[in-house]
């Protein structure tokens, strides 16, 4: 299921403001790639161009190519809705549907995709919740609202919801920044398991987290406020954190930024 992402010459705008400029990179299937960089450097914007969520914002538009295996996500006649069914996303703040039960939250994506029999749904929901390491905690209260869970549980519920539709790629936009350290650890362990099945891209402000969970790390930076963000370098995580090839990366990682 997992697919390769191949980005070439990608530039994204908010109206007339250029948010990121000329980004090219390849993300291998069944790997975890972390995006790091200072606030405003465009890493979240870039992440959102990978499932065409960027254009939901008014004035959002994109130039360049994003290939998922061989299919151009921005090609002619490609429906953004179908792109988002292939490329799942987990957000910074846990956002389960507040009016839905835990079960319905996980089943939501499946129900969008078509008709399922009740027992098929049950199987997928159980499998997804197990895949998100949440099953044991919620199996007795599947009909309770998802918003009644703790923050960390809600985030794992959102991951279960995202993986229930078997996406090819899973995007995570600072998935732990609203969570306590124990919940964060649970999510990080989960990311390690999920990469067996999915291509994962994660934006994080937490450098230790990037070092812990990712195989490759991309460093983004911007030359000044108001300037577009750029990809400075992407390399194996070990290398980025020990011996990066660009001085700016080393400065950022060692805290000598700015």
């Amino acid at each position: 299921m997992a697919k390769r992402i191949d980005v070439s010459g990608l530039t994204a705008y908010y109206g007339s403001h250029k948010a990121i400029e000329d980004i090219s990179m390849t993300v291998e299937p069944r790997s975890v790639t972390a995006f790091i960089g200072p606030s405003g450097c465009g890493k979240s914007t870039f992440l959102r161009t990978l499932n065409r969520m960027h254009e939901v914002t008014s004035g959002g538009r994109v130039e360049g190519k994003v290939l998922l295996d061989d299919e151009d996500l921005y090609g002619h006649g490609i429906d953004p809705v179908s792109v988002r069914r292939e490329v799942g996303m987990v957000f910074q703040r846990p956002n389960p549907f507040p009016t839905m039960s835990i079960f319905d939250n996980v089943a939501a994506g499946l129900r969008l995709n078509g008709k399922y029999k009740k027992n098929e749904l049950q199987d997928v929901v159980e499998k997804s919740l197990k895949g998100a390491n949440l099953w044991n905690e919620v199996k007795d209260r599947l009909n309770k609202p998802g918003s009644g869970l703790s923050g960390g549980q809600q985030q794992r519920l959102c991951i279960a919801r995202a993986i229930a539709v078997e996406p090819n790629v899973l995007l995570m936009d600072e998935p732990c920044s609203a969570l306590d350290p124990i919940s964060t650890l649970a999510i990080e362990d989960l990311i390690g398991e999920l990469k067996e099945r999915f291509t994962i891209v994660i934006v994080t402000h937490n450098m230790q987290q990037a070092a812990r969970v990712s195989d490759r790390t991309a460093f983004f930076n911007l030359s000044a406020v108001g300037q577009p963000g750029r990809l400075i370098e992407i390399d194996d995580t070990e290398r980025i954190f020990s011996n990066p090839s660009v001085q700016a990366t080393e400065d950022y990682i060692s805290g000598r930024f700015g």
Binding site: F91, P98, L112, S147, G148, R161
Partner: protein, 336 residues
Amino acid sequence: MDISTQKTDQAPPPTAPPTTTEQKRAARGATRPGDRIFLGLSRGSGILLLAIMAAIAGFLAYRASLAISKDDANFLTAFEWNTGVIPPKFGIAVLAFGTVVSSVIAMVLAVPIAVAIALFLTHYAPRRLRSPISYVIDLLAAVPSIVYGLWGALILVPQMDGLFGWLDEYLGWTGIFSWDQGAPRSMLTVGILLAIMILPIITNVSREVFRQVPQMHEEAALALGATRWEVVRMSVLPFGRSGVISASMLGLGRALGETMAVATVLSPDFDIHASLLNPGGGTFAQNIASKFNEASEFGRDALIASGLVLFVITLLVNGAARAIIARRKEYSGANA
């Protein structure tokens, strides 16, 4: 929120419950003059509201009891309104039926359209169309009800023949839509007029509610591959549900109590008609408005008794709406 934090800041430790007036006041957070004045003002406003409600209810109940005790017919079930004869005979059955039926017609027509307009304005319309359309809807709310009544009587009523004929031809067999070719000053016409009148308030409140749907709820649906309509269905409508119910209740309140527009359009009598198309029937407010000026002292008491029933119906409807909202509180967007 503020009061509770101040409580923990200033109250003595829990082992010693506040005993003196001074301490109790401190526990409420009302030690500074500004706090005390604001507390007094807000509490006074709350009490004043309750007092006004109680005064209205008391007045209605007292005057109503004077009339009902002398009523020779069954006040709840009689199909007549003769307060000038001895013994007087009057009942509110027809009025209750007409009030409920015309309001239900208005709600059935107005709520879906209002919700659709609100969704269009918040989620579909191009940005530059939003404020002009909202402005026109606000204007609709500013039109006085007597103007609606005149428009209804002079423009709407003469236009209804076509619709009534069509309904009679295809749905006449149900009985509800049969038509004897009389003037279309009937419950359906009243309901349509009321629907137009309550449309703006429901639209405006729903629009505000839909606009407040958190971005993250909509993105949750979008990220799953939801189309625009599916985002509306999965995120916007569930979040806005209680708000739409509240908006509908505001509209219903106006429909139940609408006086001049109904009195101008309806051709009333004191009978319950199965057909919505044939003229006749009446509503509480319309009946009070058309009879009050010429009524004797006793006649007025009788009309006030019917007003009391309208008051009770309105309370019941509001209570029911609150119960619906409360029933699914744990699923509401409020705790997200």
